[in-house]
């Protein structure tokens, strides 16, 4: 079957993209979602703190998702639930499967990748020891507690201070579990400051920076873990081992964009984000394939996901309407990074196709205090803004104006941090 815009993933990114595409005049929008409901990861995030930017009020994850879902349902966008996309080709042919529809092949005019991200697993960390029950990724534990109403354990150690881990430290405590410690490999937390305060400090849960789990004990069920301090090269320091008895180890050690389908389609990935590289229209290296949300780069606030996804939705609608040019190679200005900036999204802009105001999001690779964010057009500094603290856990942004770039023959844009 032929469809105009097919969105893979019905989480916050997919929903916002669908809505924006419809608002921009797209006729035919189809969302494919593998879960039994829309909303993606938000369904298990029953804590507050969503939507401060978008709705100016504090919503829970499911409430935030519901608002978008209602709006999408008011349009004639079509949603297929319990539908797993198996593959995507570079000509935008999708194969999907579901109980109701069986195997389906869809030729899409445009595709928006909105599959979200997944958690890094224990294996990727190569933690030595046994492989007992009781080791969960924070997200799996969150699903067990919040959606299945099941207690994954009573005495908990958390490795990694990503936001889901922090949130789960509080959640498990509220459910009566004892969270003994959160160990973080880096000298800084990967989570939002507000989560450290509200989820750890308020409950007296210690956060041990520059520490990691160096052994897992217990053959059947976890009985304890050994935590060691690490040096500057992140290697455990002998003699610093400390044993914690516990029945549960939660891992919150990073999120990786879900990129199986992207790679299958030949989409070029960024080494810094592990997600696709995109241009000003959030189009990937494969024409007509757009990306947004956590599949593009991992976000910490859903509001930014919705904003970014809306841009992708509009761009896809425009692509269908105008049969836009391929990725315009020569006319694109690359965005380079400098200082502590790890990456930017997008990583290139074509002034002819960018919106009036283009938000460029980025993350830094360490904690920076009282440094400037600067933007250069070739050698000329066009933005210089001081910030008290910048941290890897918090996404930053700068806004580029189309008027500043159009017809100016800029060869390179640089986003960087500077001491002065």
């Amino acid at each position: 079957m032929k469809r105009e815009i097919v969105i893979i993933g019905g989480g916050p990114a997919g929903l916002a993209a669908a809505l924006a595409a419809k608002e921009a005049g797209a006729k035919d929008v189809l969302i494919l979602e593998r879960d039994v409901r829309l909303g993606g990861i938000l369904n298990q995030c029953i804590h507050n703190g969503f939507g401060l930017h978008t709705f100016k009020e504090e919503l829970t994850g499911p409430e935030y998702a519901a608002r978008f879902e209602e709006k999408v349902m008011e349009t004639d966008a079509e949603v297929w639930l319990s539908t797993m996309v198996l593959s995507l080709s570079k000509d935008r042919v999708i194969t999907a499967v579901s109980r109701e529809k069986g195997l389906v092949t869809i030729e899409a005019g445009a595709v928006i990748l909105a599959m979200g991200c997944r958690e890094r697993s224990r294996g990727a960390l190569n933690i030595p020891g046994f492989r007992p029950a009781g080791i969960y990724s924070a997200g799996t534990a969150q699903r067990l507690v919040n959606m299945e109403g099941q207690m994954p354990g009573h005495e908990v150690v958390i490795l990694g201070s990503g936001d889901i881990g922090l949130i789960m430290a509080r959640r498990m405590t509220l459910e009566g579990a004892k969270v003994k410690v959160v160990a973080e490999l880096q000298p800084y937390s990967g989570g939002l400051k507000r989560n450290i305060v509200q989820c750890l400090d308020d409950y007296g849960i210690p956060l041990k920076l520059s520490h990691t789990v160096t052994e897992i004990r217990g053959k059947d069920r976890v009985t304890g873990v050994v935590i060691s301090e690490v040096d500057d090269r992140l290697q455990p320091i002998p003699g610093t081992e400390e044993y914690y008895s516990c029945d549960t180890l939660l891992l919150s050690v990073g999120l990786i964009p879900e990129n199986e389908l992207s790679t299958g389609a030949g989409v070029e990935l960024s080494r810094a984000t592990n997600g696709p590289t995109v241009n000003e229209r959030l189009m990937t290296s494969v024409p007509g394939v757009f990306a947004c949300g956590n599949v593009l780069h991992v976000h910490d606030l859903v509001d930014y996901v919705s904003e970014e996804a809306a841009a992708a939705g509009r761009a896809a609608a425009e692509y269908i309407a105008n049969g836009q040019p391929e990725r315009s190679g020569g006319a694109e200005i690359p965005i380079a990074v400098g200082g502590g900036v790890r990456y930017t999204v997008p990583s290139a802009v074509d002034p002819a196709h960018m919106p009036e105001l283009l938000t460029v999001r980025f993350r830094v690779g360490n904690i920076y205090k009282n440094v400037y964010t600067s933007v250069y057009f070739d050698g000329e500094r066009v933005l210089h803004r001081k910030k008290q603290v910048m941290a890897p856990g918090e996404m930053e942004q700068v806004v580029l104006k189309r008027a500043d770039l159009l017809g100016k023959n800029v060869g390179k844009i640089t986003v960087t941090t500077e001491e002065d």
Partner: protein, 473 residues
């Protein structure tokens, strides 16, 4: 009263049980664990060895070569993933070349006709990612890779189909000889049989000692591994061994039948027969050694690590015998045990049948069909399955693309999956790069529904491996 009780449901016990069902007479497999394939058979290199490694004249050499030859037929009969991908043994220094030649000659004496020694350049032509430091290599085209879970399950399910019974969570604690046979004391009650087979892996010496004076000691020799993501499964197509040198036995780099890349194993003796933990030293060491074989080792793509225990004996060869009248042993079955399983099964069954005077059955059915892996089938077949049963269209494990239908099937088989790991070994759900993070709650739900147990009754593997403790507040 059974005719034969086989102790141990590893690949060896299951192969013997399957071959015994070719004969008249009843068979029971008595297993300490909760499932088949919970011991050494689940954690090894999964290589169907060519047969050049074992010393001339040993049982290991004989069984290896015969087992390798049988594997094609067995894999077809039992629907087991198996591929003859060939193997190289790498030589990194001119001065080690004589050792390579010794290995070649040993292989020839063991009966191999396909061996050759090739230059480093020739080897690199076939395997472009081999290290530039390789000066020569032994090439063995008949070496292969197999799925050790499916091989063990294939024997077990086919044995069950032909009438063998399985008793799990039934560790044998006593063996006594009576008038007309043996009485096994087990954790789930007594079992009586005319003949007993000791196929208890690293515990074989303990079983032996329950009946007979101490004779041999099984030392658990641990081997640690790292398994890498399928994206790098194509780094090499053949199994890459290293020539043993003064520095040690060397480790292998091999694709698995499912397309992952496997690195390992280390070798370290432990006096704890349950010590399947990995160690920081072991994992670092094996990666360092594996890195010698190839140009660049994708250590960032490791998705899991594990270790297995070799049943090493002081005899240093397979012990395959009738140790006392009616008491048979398949002990010390370390590598190449997986390779040898088909012929060990056949040979032991013959011995036992002769001793008990059993005759061949006419109605033995050698064919077993595995749980269908719908998403590795050609599109037409896949479509047909989904049309017949929509549950095959409901994907549970997204990394390995496993459907709810396949998981249900795995639970309903005999012997069926009762745990998360049982489902994993039968369907691969949870084996992929997210290592069950996403699918385990779903698999737990399906197990709960199929087995009629609450979620808190579902286990990862052993009865003590509790997953969740019941309802939240």
């Amino acid at each position: 009263m059974y005719d034969v009780a086989v102790i141990g449901a590893g690949v060896i016990g299951c192969a013997i049980a399957r071959e015994l069902t070719r004969y008249t007479g009843s068979v029971v497999v008595v297993e300490k664990g909760e499932d088949v394939c919970t011991g050494t058979s689940k954690a090894n290199s999964a290589i169907v060895h060519g047969g050049f490694d074992a010393e001339n004249g040993t049982m290991k050499a004989k069984m290896n070569v015969l087992g390798n030859r049988m594997m094609t037929r067995i894999s077809e009969e039992l629907d087991v993933p198996f591929r003859r991908n060939g193997a190289f043994v790498l030589c990194f220094q001119e001065e080690d070349r004589p050792a390579l030649e010794t290995l070649y000659e040993r292989g020839v004496k063991n009966g191999l006709t396909d061996l050759s020694i090739v230059s480093g350049d020739e080897a690199r032509k076939m395997e472009p990612n081999l290290s530039e430091n390789v000066v020569a290599a032994l090439w063995c085209p008949s070496s292969g890779i197999v799925c050790p879970f499916e091989l063990t399950l294939g024997f077990a399910e086919n044995a069950a189909k032909n009438g063998a019974e399985f008793r799990f969570l039934s560790g044998v604690t006593g063996v006594a000889r009576g008038e007309d046979g043996f009485t096994l004391e087990t954790e789930s009650g007594e079992i009586r049989a005319k003949a007993v087979v000791n196929a208890a892996g690293v515990y074989a010496d303990r079983i032996h000692d329950l009946l007979l004076p101490h004779d041999y000691t099984v030392t658990a020799r641990r081997g640690e591994y790292c398994l890498c993501d399928k994206t790098v499964g194509g780094l090499v197509d053949r199994t890459i061994f290293q020539l043993p040198t003064k520095l040690g036995k060397g480790v292998l780099v091999t694709p698995t039948v499912h397309g992952n890349l496997l690195l390992g194993p280390t070798a370290e003796d432990t006096d704890d027969k349950e010590y399947t933990a990995t160690t920081a030293f072991g994992l670092a060491d094996l990666q360092k050694r594996a890195a010698l074989s190839v140009k660049s080792l994708p250590t960032r793509q490791v998705i899991t690590s594990f270790s297995g225990l070799r049943a090493h004996t002081d005899v240093d060869d397979f012990i395959l015998r009738e140790a006392a009248p009616g008491f048979f042993e398949a002990a010390g079955i370390e590598s190449p045990g997986l390779t040898s399983a088909p012929v060990i099964g056949e040979m032991m069954a013959e011995k036992i049948a002769a001793a008990l005077g059993l005759s061949k059955r006419a109605d033995f059915d050698p064919i077993r069909k595995g749980v269908p892996h719908i998403y590795s089938l050609p599109e037409e077949e896949r479509r047909a399955y989904i049309e017949k049963d929509p549950l095959y269209g409901s994907i549970v494990c997204r990394c390995e693309t496993v459907s709810e239908g396949e998981i249900r099937d795995a639970i309903r088989r005999t012997p069926g999956a009762t745990t998360l790991d049982g489902v994993k070994r039968r369907t691969r759900a949870g084996m992929g790069r997210c290592q069950a993070g996403f699918c385990s709650p779903r698999v737990m739900e399906i197990l709960s529904r199929e087995l009629g147990l609450p979620l808190s009754g579902i286990r990862k593997n052993t009865p003590a491996s509790v997953l969740v403790y019941g309802k939240t507040k």
